[in-house]
Each structure stands twice: as C-alpha cells, then as structure tokens.
Homo-oligomer: 142 residues x 2
DNA sequence: GCTGGCCTTGACGTCGGCGTCAAGGTCTAG
DNA sequence: CTAGACCTTGACGCCGACGTCAAGGCCAGC
C-alpha cells in the first residue's frame, strides 16, 4: 500500500502521514523506487493515532499507544504508559471542564445582569432579539 | 500615564498594549516626545479587555465592549452588540462543554476497559500505580 | 557628561498540526 | 511517446496573542 491509499483508507492526507513520519511516529518502509510502503498494521497504528487525536490528545500523547501496538500488544492501551496518558488526559479534561463551566456561569450571569439593565431602560416591553451570529461556532478544543 | 505604568496597573506588558493599539483597540495619544500617553479611562478599557480575555473571548469579540465604553456608556456591556457577543460566546461555551463532556466520558470508559483487561492479566492483585505526570496540565482554553 | 531606565519602531520567533506550493522523479495506459 | 496520476523532498504559510531581540531616542539624577 502506498501513501495515498493509506491516507484515503484512514480518511486523512498524505501530508499528515509524512508529518507523522517526520515526528518519529508511523515509520515507513520503502520500495525500490523510493516510495513509502505500508501494510494493514500501519493502518491500525494510524487509526489509533486518529482516534486519540479526535479525543483531543496531542501527537506526543499518542506515542505510547503506537509503541504499544508496535510492540505487538493487542490494543494500543494494553500498556501502562498508555494508561498513564489516559489518566493524565482525563485530569486535563476534568480541569478544563471545571474552568469552562465556571466561565460559562459567569458569562451567563453577566449577560443576565446586562439584559436587566437594558430592560430597565425600556420598561414598556423588551423585545426578545435573539439573532445569534451562528458562524462563531468553532471550538478551541477540536 | 506612560505605557509601562499602564501595563503594570493592568498586570500586563507593554508589548500587549502596543499589540492592542496595532489592532485598533486601545488607541493612544502621544506626548511631545512621541511617548504614548494614557489616562484612567484607558485603564478601564484595558481592564474590560483583559476580563473578557480571561473568559476566553478573542480580541475581536472584545471590540464591541471597548467601543461601547468609548461611546460613553457606563459599562462595556451596555450596548446590544456586546450582548450579542455574550450570547455568541455562551453558545460556544455550551457546545464546547457538551463535546468535552462526551470526550471525557469516552476516555473514562476506555480507561476503565483497559484497566479491567490489565487486571485480568494479573488476577492476584493489581497494584494501584497512580503516578501522574503532573506537568501536562495546560488547558487548550486558557 | 554619563549612566541607567524608560521609551520608540521594526522584525523575527513561538506553538501544533498540518496546507500548499515548487521542482522534479516514476510508472502506466493509450 | 506522451499525458497524467501517482510519488519524492524542501520550504514557506497559517492562526492568535503576544515574546524577544535590535538599534536607537529621551530624560532624570549624579
């Protein structure tokens, strides 16, 4: 399997695969003409990386999982180093959730206060103008 | 007040203030020698920006608040454009929280499954090895 | 007058995970 | 033989919010 096919199989790009190789994850064998050659096992490694990336793990955090699979273990998380990364990421997520939740509540409170003030300026009847801009919906974590 | 003092008052840096000015927020008057001159009102604007930044608003999102204050309103969120930004940010936060929460649960589930598998390999008694790496605690949202 | 601390502009560096060219090599179908 | 669909390496671009350095101007105190 060559790089384009592997990328297609995993729903990613050749640039991404070359990047992973440059980072030392997902090394590639070469055919006589210098082309990268991959097999089904590489596809497993790649899918492991992509799954973790989708969960917000950064590349370095995926390394233990990849090495675990390369060492012949049945799953990427069959090794203690991978479990440590799970726990570390879980702690990150909990901390992040707590902070975001607090921020959310404070913003909601500020909004409520401000809406009350505006309502006080127009005691007759505050029209509920609710048009949200609707295209700012990118997450910082994605 | 010169730039260094304003930065100190707001707990930020001169670089940040020059950056804000380059972006068109927080313009500065100049003294005869070309130094930037600020007053207490600029400190208010700056504090408004910093508060919103701490809440994860990006610079562009702070603009309506700053313009609202510059227009003489008592608070940065006394203007409808600011309220729209509040609502937009609130929607972002809710979506982000929902996604992060789902990811958290899935990671926790994966961890639990993996720990069970490891436990099955050592039925005698799994030692609880809980040393977390402890320096990965930066948030993506900060 | 000279040192040291402030200020100025300009420009390049940072971080992650790639996207996007550019210039060229390789192989296959027609 | 040639087009075109793949592949190679290399290198610069991107995003946001600044950090950091360079080279030089301004001003207060000794």
């Amino acid at each position: 399997m060559r790089i384009g096919e592997l990328a297609a199989q995993a729903g990613t790009t050749t640039r991404t695969l070359r990047y992973y190789e440059s980072r030392g994850l997902l090394p590639a064998r070469r055919t006589g003409n210098g082309y990268r050659a991959y097999d089904e096992e590489d596809l497993r490694l790649l899918r492991q990386i992509r799954t973790l990336q989708d969960f917000g793990f950064d590349l370095e955090q995926t390394r233990p999982f990849v090495e675990c699979l390369q060492a012949g273990h049945p799953e990427g998380d069959s090794c203690p180093a991978s479990l440590d990364v799970y726990r570390s990421r879980l702690a990150e997520l909990d901390e992040c959730l707590a902070r975001l939740h607090e921020v959310r509540d404070r913003v909601a409170a500020q909004l409520a206060r401000a809406e009350l003030r505006v309502g006080a300026d127009h005691p007759g009847g505050p029209e509920p103008h609710c048009e949200l801009s609707a295209n700012h919906a990118q997450m910082k974590e994605s």
